[in-house]
C-alpha cells in the first residue's frame, strides 16, 4: 500500500509504503518504522487486572466517571479527531476536565498566541520559500527526523531550490544533532531565550546601543550578525521547540519570539511555528477549540467550558488533587508527568484506553485496549502546521477503535445523566 500516513511525530509524513506480508514500512525514519512494527499489545479489556469483555469494562469505567465529582480526561495526542471530538463531548457531559498532551509540551505557545497571535505558515511555505530557517530550542534530528528532508533543511522547493540556497541556523543550549547540520550554531545559556529575543528586537528596531556586550552567553557581535541575517532574508522561518516552551520563561519566550517576527514583517517576510510533537497533538487542540472554544486545560464543572492552565492543566489538576478519577486516552502520563503528579494518579481510579501497555497501565483500574489508528483504523489528524491528513486502515483487527469505545461510553453517560 502506498502513500501511507505516519502516526509518530508532528511531521506526519504521508509518503510511506507498507508491505503487508512483511509488516514493514518503507521510506519512514526510525521513529516511523517503530510505529509500524509489531509490538506487545494489551490483550483484552481488564478491570482490576481481570480480563473482561469490552462492554463490562466500559460499564465499569462509566460508573467511575459518572460518580466522580471532577474527572480528568487526559491524553488525545495520539488518536484521531473523531475520537477527540467524543472525548470533548464526554468531558462536557461529565462536568470534568479536558486536557491534552500539549499541556506538557507546546501549550505555552498557545498562551503566547493569546497575547500576540501566530504569524505562521504551512510547512509547504517553508519548503518553497524560506531561505533562512532558524531552529530555536528544537532538535528535529531526534524528534522529527524527516522534517529537514521534507520541509525545512534539505527540502527542495519551488523558489528555494535546495540546501545551498537555504541558510540553517540553530539556537540551543547544547550542540545537538541538528546543530551539527546547521550553517550557524548559536549556543546560549539555559534560561536566557527571553533576554536574547529582546536584544534581537532592540537591534532590529535600531536600538542596538542599549544592548550590552553579551546577552545570555552570546556576544553582541553575534547577535548583530543574527539580526542582519534575519533582516536580509526575503523569507524566513523560526521553528521553535520545547527548548523554548519547557524552560525558563516558557510562554513568555514564545511571546517574545512572536513579537520579533511581527517586527521583521515590517520590512521583510518571516513566519514562526512550533515543532509540535505527537502526530495529532494539533488535533487535540483544534477539535476542542471548535467544539467548546478552547484548546486545552478546559473545565466543565459548571456545565460550560472554562480555560485556565494554572488550574485545569492535567499536571495542575493532579498537583492540586483536584480530580477524583481519570480517563487517559492515547497517552502515558505516568511516564511523562512529574513524580508529584504521578503520585496522585496512583491514589485515584484511573481508566486507560490505549493499544499498548505502558506505565499508566500499571496504575489503571480499568484498561481498555484499542485499535491502532493509521494501521488498523482510519481517521483524520492534523500535522504540526494544521494540514489535515487522513490516516489509513491497512490491517484488520478485532480491537475496538477509540471512537467506538468512546461512543459507547458517551451513550451510557447520556443515559445515566438523563
Amino acid at each position: 500500500m502506498e502513500d501511507i500516513v505516519c502516526t509518530f511525530c508532528g511531521s506526519v509524513c504521508d509518503d510511506g509504503e507498507f508491505d503487508v506480508e512483511k509488516r514493514r514500512v518503507k521510506r519512514f525514519c526510525r521513529l516511523g518504522s517503530s510505529k509500524f512494527a509489531e509490538k506487545e499489545r494489551i490483550k483484552a479489556p481488564m478491570v482490576e487486572g481481570k480480563e473482561v469483555s469490552y462492554e463490562e469494562a466500559i460499564d465499569y469505567a462509566v460508573e467511575i466517571l459518572v460518580n466522580a465529582k471532577h474527572p480528568l480526561l487526559y491524553g488525545w495526542a495520539s488518536t484521531v479527531n473523531e475520537a477527540i471530538r467524543l472525548g470533548v463531548i464526554l468531558a462536557e457531559k461529565l462536568g470534568g476536565v479536558y486536557d491534552q498532551c500539549a499541556s506538557v509540551c507546546h501549550a505555552p505557545g498557545v498562551l503566547a498566541v493569546i497575547e500576540e497571535g501566530l504569524p505562521g505558515g504551512t510547512l509547504g511555505s517553508i519548503k518553497n520559500r524560506a531561505e533562512v530557517v532558524i531552529f530555536w530550542g528544537a532538535n528535529p534530528a531526534e524528534a522529527h527526523p524527516r522534517h529537514g528532508l521534507r520541509y525545512s533543511i534539505t527540502a527542495k522547493g519551488l523558489l528555494v531550490k535546495d540546501r545551498k540556497q537555504r541558510k540553517v541556523i540553530v539556537v540551543d543550549v547544547r550542540p545537538t544533532k541538528t546543530a551539527k547540520m546547521a550553517d550557524i550554531f548559536v549556543q546560549i545559556k539555559p534560561g536566557y531565550d527571553y533576554a536574547i529575543l529582546s536584544a534581537l528586537r532592540a537591534i532590529i528596531s535600531g536600538n542596538a546601543d542599549v544592548v550590552p556586550k553579551e546577552v545570555g552567553g552570546v556576544s553582541k557581535e553575534k547577535l548583530i550578525e543574527l539580526a542582519e541575517i534575519m533582516k536580509n532574508a526575503k523569507y524566513g522561518a523560526v521553528l521553535y521547540g520545547l527548548g523554548v516552551s519547557q524552560s525558563r520563561g516558557r510562554d513568555r519566550n514564545v511571546e517574545n519570539a512572536i513579537k520579533l517576527i511581527q517586527l521583521l514583517n515590517r520590512t521583510t517576510r518571516w513566519i514562526i511555528w512550533p515543532m509540535r510533537g505527537h502526530y495529532n497533538v494539533v488535533g487535540a487542540g483544534e477539535v476542542p477549540a471548535w467544539e467548546v472554544g478552547y484548546s486545552y486545560a478546559i473545565d466543565f464543572s459548571r456545565g460550560y467550558p472554562r480555560f485556565s492552565p494554572a488550574e485545569f492543566s492535567a499536571v495542575e489538576v493532579l498537583n492540586r488533587k483536584d480530580c477524583d478519577a481519570a480517563l487517559i486516552v492515547a497517552s502515558d502520563p505516568v511516564a511523562h508527568f512529574p513524580a508529584s503528579a504521578v503520585k496522585y494518579l496512583k491514589e485515584i481510579p484511573v481508566i486507560q484506553i490505549d493499544p499498548y501497555p505502558n506505565m499508566t497501565t500499571l496504575v489503571s483500574k480499568v484498561v481498555i485496549p484499542s485499535a491502532v489508528y493509521g494501521i488498523e483504523a482510519e481517521g483524520s489528524t492534523y500535522r504540526m502546521d494544521g494540514i489535515v491528513l487522513r490516516v489509513k486502515k491497512i490491517l484488520e483487527t478485532n480491537y475496538w477503535t477509540d471512537e467506538k469505545i468512546l461512543e459507547e461510553m458517551l451513550k451510557r453517560v447520556e443515559k445515566l445523566k438523563g
Partner: protein, 559 residues
C-alpha cells in the same frame, strides 16, 4: 408531516407578498395540500404571524483554520456563555462562536443555511470537519483560487480548458461549492511583503495581473456553468480610495451573461467602498458603487455591514490583515498556505465614537439602501463586520428611516459629511428584505430548492411574531428588530428545531458541494497538478476530501 396554518406568507421568489395561506410539509419538502393527510399532520397555528423561508447567509467565516485560530487566540471571546450543557451542547462565544453555538444561534434566528466563505483547498478537510460539527443548518464552503500558482500557470499559458479542469478537479477534491477569489495576486505579493495595488499590476514572479485572474476565472466558471458565479473579494480591501478598484472589477463582468444568475458576485463590498486618499479624508464611495451595480444586470454584491461592538477580522487577504495589525497594534495571526494562498486574523471592534468605524457602519447601510434589492444580499461578513446575530438590526434599519435617524444621532458626526446615509429616504419593504435574506442569496448561490416556499422547496421555514399586514415598519422598528432576533418557530427539513428562541431539537444539516468533474476532462490538468505536487508537502493521493468522510453530503452535479 406538518401543517402551517393561517400564516402570512412572504415568498418573493414566488411573488407572494403577505398573503394569508397554509403550508404543508412532508418528508422535509414543501408539498401540495393533497399530498398530506391533515389528520396526521402536526399543526402549527401561524395566525397573524410572518411565514418565510429560512434565512441564508451566503458569506460568513464559520469553519476552518481561520475561525478556529481566532477562537484559540481570543479566549476573552469565549467567556460569554450561551447555553449550559444538558439536553443540548454547552455553547459559548461573544462574536466568535463555537461550532455548536453557530448552529444554534442561526437556528434561533430563523436562518437555516450558511456558507463558509474562504477555504484554501488544501485545508478543506479541516473546514469540512468543522462544518460537520455545526448542528442544524445546511452548509457549503468556497475554496479560494485567486493566488494559487497553478491557477497563475493556466492563465499564463492562456489555457482555458486547463483552468476549467483545475476548477472542476479542485472543487470536487475539496468538496467545495464555487470559486472564491480573495485579493487576486495580492496574497502572492504578500509572500514578499507586498500587495498589488491595481488590476493591472503584475503579480510578482508571474506574468499575470489581477484583471487577468478575475477575467479568466470568470470565463472558466461560466463555461463550466457552476451554480454560483465567481465570488470576488476585491483588491485593495480596507484602503481609502479603493472604491475605484471595486468599480473597475465590477466592470469586468461586462459582456457576459447567464440566464439564471449573476456573472460576478462581489462580496462584503462595504470594505471596498472607500473614497478619499487617507484615513484622514476617507469618505464613502458607496453611491458610486451603487450606481455601477444598479446599471449592470449581471452583478450582485453582499453588504459586509459593520455592527458596533466586538468583531474579529479574518480573511484570506493576508496583506490587509498585516496592515490592520500595524494600524491598530492588535494581535495578528497569519497563515501562508503552501503555494495556494494565505490568511490573517486580527481582533477588532467598531465604536460609534470612532469616525472611521462609523463610516464603515454607514457605508454598509448605504449599499443596502442604494442598491436595488434584487442585487444586494445582507451580510456582516461574519465575524469581520460583526456577529450574524445582528442581522435583524440591519433588516430593521433598512426598513426604517426613523430608526436610522435615531442611530445617526448617537454615532460620530463624521458620517454627516462623509456619507449620503443621512439623506437617504429609501425604506426597503419587508418583501425586499425577505428577498435580500432568503430568495436572493439562494439565487446568487444557485440553489433552486432554497430560499423560497414553493412546492418542492426544502422545508426550511422561519415563522416570526410579526404580522406584516398590521405592522408599521417605519415606526415599529424596535418590535421588528426583536421579532427577527428570535423566531417563533424555525423548521429545518420539516423538523421544528427552535421555538421562541429555545432549541427543541438538534438535527444535522447537509453539506452542499458541486461536482463538475463530468463537465470537463479533468485529466487535462492532472499532469500539471501532479508536477506541482513536488512543491506540496502532501502526496497527490492524500489531497482533498472523500465524500464518505462528510457527515451528510449533498452533491450537486453540473452536467
Amino acid at each position: 408531516m406538518l401543517w402551517i396554518k393561517n400564516g402570512v406568507v412572504v415568498d418573493p421568489k414566488n411573488r407572494i407578498n403577505a398573503e394569508k395561506m397554509d403550508l404543508f410539509v412532508k418528508d422535509g419538502k414543501i408539498v401540495e395540500e393533497s399530498k398530506v393527510k391533515k389528520g396526521d399532520c402536526k399543526v402549527i397555528d401561524a395566525s397573524g404571524k410572518l411565514v418565510v423561508a429560512g434565512g441564508i447567509d451566503m458569506h460568513a467565516h464559520i469553519a476552518g483554520g481561520k475561525i478556529n485560530t481566532g477562537r484559540v487566540m481570543r479566549p476573552e471571546e469565549m467567556r460569554v456563555v450561551r447555553n449550559i450543557a444538558g439536553k443540548f451542547r454547552a455553547t459559548v462565544g461573544r462574536v466568535l462562536l463555537t461550532a455548536p453555538a453557530i448552529g444554534y444561534e442561526y437556528a434561533k434566528m430563523g436562518y437555516t443555511m450558511s456558507f463558509e466563505a474562504a477555504t484554501p483547498p488544501i485545508t478543506s478537510p479541516h473546514t469540512h470537519e468543522e462544518l460537520d460539527a455545526i448542528p442544524i443548518i445546511d452548509k457549503g464552503a468556497l475554496p479560494v483560487f485567486g493566488n494559487w500558482h497553478l491557477v497563475f500557470k493556466c492563465i499564463e499559458e492562456k489555457n482555458l480548458e486547463k483552468l476549467k479542469s483545475l476548477i472542476a478537479w479542485t472543487i470536487e477534491r475539496s468538496k467545495g461549492f464555487g470559486v472564491k477569489i480573495v485579493n487576486p495576486g495580492g496574497v502572492e505579493a504578500w509572500m514578499y511583503g507586498g500587495n498589488v495595488k491595481g488590476l493591472d499590476e503584475q503579480v510578482p514572479g508571474f506574468a499575470v495581473t489581477p484583471r487577468e485572474i478575475i477575467t479568466w476565472l470568470m470565463r472558466a466558471n461560466e463555461e463550466l456553468n457552476l451554480p454560483h458565479s465567481i465570488h470576488l473579494h476585491c483588491n485593495n480591501l480596507g484602503i481609502p480610495g479603493n472604491y475605484q478598484t471595486t468599480i473597475e472589477s465590477i466592470k469586468l463582468a461586462n459582456g457576459l451573461k447567464n440566464e439564471k444568475r449573476q456573472i460576478l458576485h462581489v462580496t462584503h463590498v462595504q470594505f471596498n467602498s472607500y473614497a478619499g486618499n487617507s484615513w484622514r479624508d476617507v469618505a464613502s464611495g458607496a453611491a458610486e458603487i451603487a450606481k455601477i451595480v444598479n446599471s449592470m444586470d449581471n452583478v450582485t454584491i453582499d453588504m459586509g455591514q459593520a455592527i458596533f461592538g466586538h468583531a474579529t477580522a479574518m480573511t484570506g487577504d493576508a496583506p490587509f490583515q498585516f496592515t490592520l495589525h500595524k494600524l491598530i497594534g492588535a494581535r495578528w495571526s497569519n497563515k501562508d498556505t503552501e503555494v495556494e494562498t494565505g490568511a490573517g486574523i486580527v481582533p477588532i471592534g467598531y465604536l460609534p465614537s470612532n469616525p472611521v468605524h462609523t463610516l464603515q457602519w454607514a457605508i454598509g447601510l448605504e449599499l443596502g439602501l442604494l442598491i436595488e434589492s434584487d442585487k444586494v444580499v445582507l451580510t456582516t461578513d461574519y465575524p469581520n463586520g460583526g456577529p450574524f446575530t445582528e442581522y435583524p438590526y440591519v433588516m430593521a434599519m433598512l426598513m426604517s428611516k426613523k430608526m436610522r435617524e435615531g442611530e445617526l444621532k448617537r454615532v460620530h458626526q463624521y458620517v454627516q459629511k462623509a456619507t449620503t446615509l443621512p439623506s437617504i429616504e429609501t425604506e426597503k419593504t419587508l418583501y425586499e428584505v425577505i428577498h435580500m435574506t432568503r430568495s436572493l442569496p439562494a439565487r446568487v448561490m444557485g440553489l433552486d430548492k432554497k430560499g423560497h416556499l414553493g412546492i418542492g422547496a426544502d422545508a426550511d421555514i422561519a415563522i416570526y411574531d410579526l404580522n406584516p399586514l398590521t405592522t408599521d415598519f417605519s415606526n415599529e422598528f424596535d418590535r421588528v428588530y426583536k421579532a427577527f432576533k428570535v423566531s417563533e418557530f424555525t423548521i429545518k427539513d420539516g423538523d421544528v428545531v427552535a421555538k421562541k428562541g429555545e432549541l427543541v431539537k438538534e438535527v444535522f444539516g447537509k453539506t452542499f458541494w458541486v461536482d463538475a468533474s463530468k463537465k470537463v476532462d479533468v485529466e487535462a490538468v492532472i499532469p500539471d497538478v501532479k508536477s506541482y505536487f513536488d512543491f506540496y508537502t502532501v502526496q497527490f493521493s492524500n489531497y482533498g476530501v472523500d465524500e464518505r468522510w462528510l457527515k451528510k453530503s449533498k452533491r450537486i452535479e453540473v452536467i
